[in-house]
Symmetry: C2
Subunit: 215 residues, 2 copies
């Protein structure tokens, strides 16, 4: 398809598509004349991922480029492409190593992963941004005196494990390794606001049940 059709089908303006092409967020089209190029379904899919990252995930263009490069790197298996792509996504605050709460939080986080049997998680803990965010979040809870023992955190880990099964079920519906890696990255980003907003609605529901004056 031509640029105009790619724009029509993706809902992304031709100017924005040209910008993404210049920034190497999209692979170049197949040249058919000096001024025209042909695009295919792969461009459409890639454009959806880039939109998910930039518009919803609010990921900077340079980060999106790293994510896309990892997704595209078909010299590597899908697990390692996915790992690199997710690692390039923005994550939360880094732990403060000068704070004594950080050591304690790291022990709590490690014990939590052991309790839920995440053996792969334990092997990547030293280099995973998500593990560092978890440590920083537990340290903040600890420093502020809010509950953050392994027993308080376990329901969260169990929920996350359940959600990962649904997420990967959705991912496995995609046909090729590249499509699965793209979908896994996009769903990681796009379902975060779904999860946080549903948690707030569920808390309102449960608060009403416990503290409300009746139905």
């Amino acid at each position: 398809m031509r640029l105009a059709e790619l724009s029509e089908r993706s809902g992304v303006s031709t100017a924005t598509i040209k910008y993404y092409l210049r920034e190497e967020l999209l692979p170049p089209g197949r040249r058919i004349t000096a001024t025209q190029a042909e695009y295919d379904e792969e461009h459409l899919r890639r454009l959806r991922l880039v939109r998910a990252l930039i518009q919803i995930g609010r990921v900077p263009v340079s980060t999106a480029r790293e994510v896309v490069a990892a997704v595209e790197d078909d010299s590597r298996d899908q697990l390692s492409r996915l790992g690199t792509a997710v690692e390039a996504l923005p994550h939360g605050p880094e732990p403060d190593e000068r704070d004594p709460a950080t050591d304690l939080a790291r022990r709590t986080a490690t014990e939590l992963l052991e309790r839920v049997g995440w053996r792969f998680g334990l092997t990547i803990a030293g280099r995973a941004g998500a593990f560092r965010t978890l440590v920083a979040a537990i340290a903040a809870l600890h420093r502020l005196g809010y509950p953050c023992d392994v027993s308080d955190l376990l329901p969260y880990a169990h929920s996350a494990a359940g959600l990962a099964v649904s997420d990967l079920d959705l991912v496995e519906e995609y046909g090729t390794p590249t499509e699965r890696v793209e979908a896994a990255v996009a769903l990681t980003v796009l379902y975060e606001p779904v999860l946080l907003s549903l948690r707030r609605l569920a808390e309102a529901e449960e608060s009403n049940k416990r503290f409300g004056d009746g139905p």
Copy 2:
């Protein structure tokens, strides 16, 4: 206790505490001389909440002031104070009413709440920021062609319902209505990075199980 002790016990500098007092994020201490005031356990608790909001939740000072005002308003019952406080917290993007995907997303979100039986959620849907964020997130999934049917979203709603039970169990351990409202707001904010980081770790675990080369 004096300002120095409040600073010592909270780990917040005296300069920052004075700033919070000026910004009305903390109630004034009880004057004992022209230049000295006395603070109590309530100040210490309030300071923890303000730190949670500003440092971890990255909430602007003006928003933190609204949240604190709602928490403090003991002319109202705890459910309505909690609702106002959580509503004042920052939430995700607003739905784009010009986008046809938004209408469809609103129907999907409403059906989801019906399916999980959140009757209170349905009554507040029209004014809850969390519901609008949910609609915007589903519309983005829809627009980009990623799975977002009620059946895809249900596992998320069920997980959120389970987490709300654990959250409110923690909240109910606090003694007074004001303490419970404070804890509910703080835990809403402080557990968001816990949940998102555990989800990413769980996805890594599940991906390794399905796509990895073995243990």
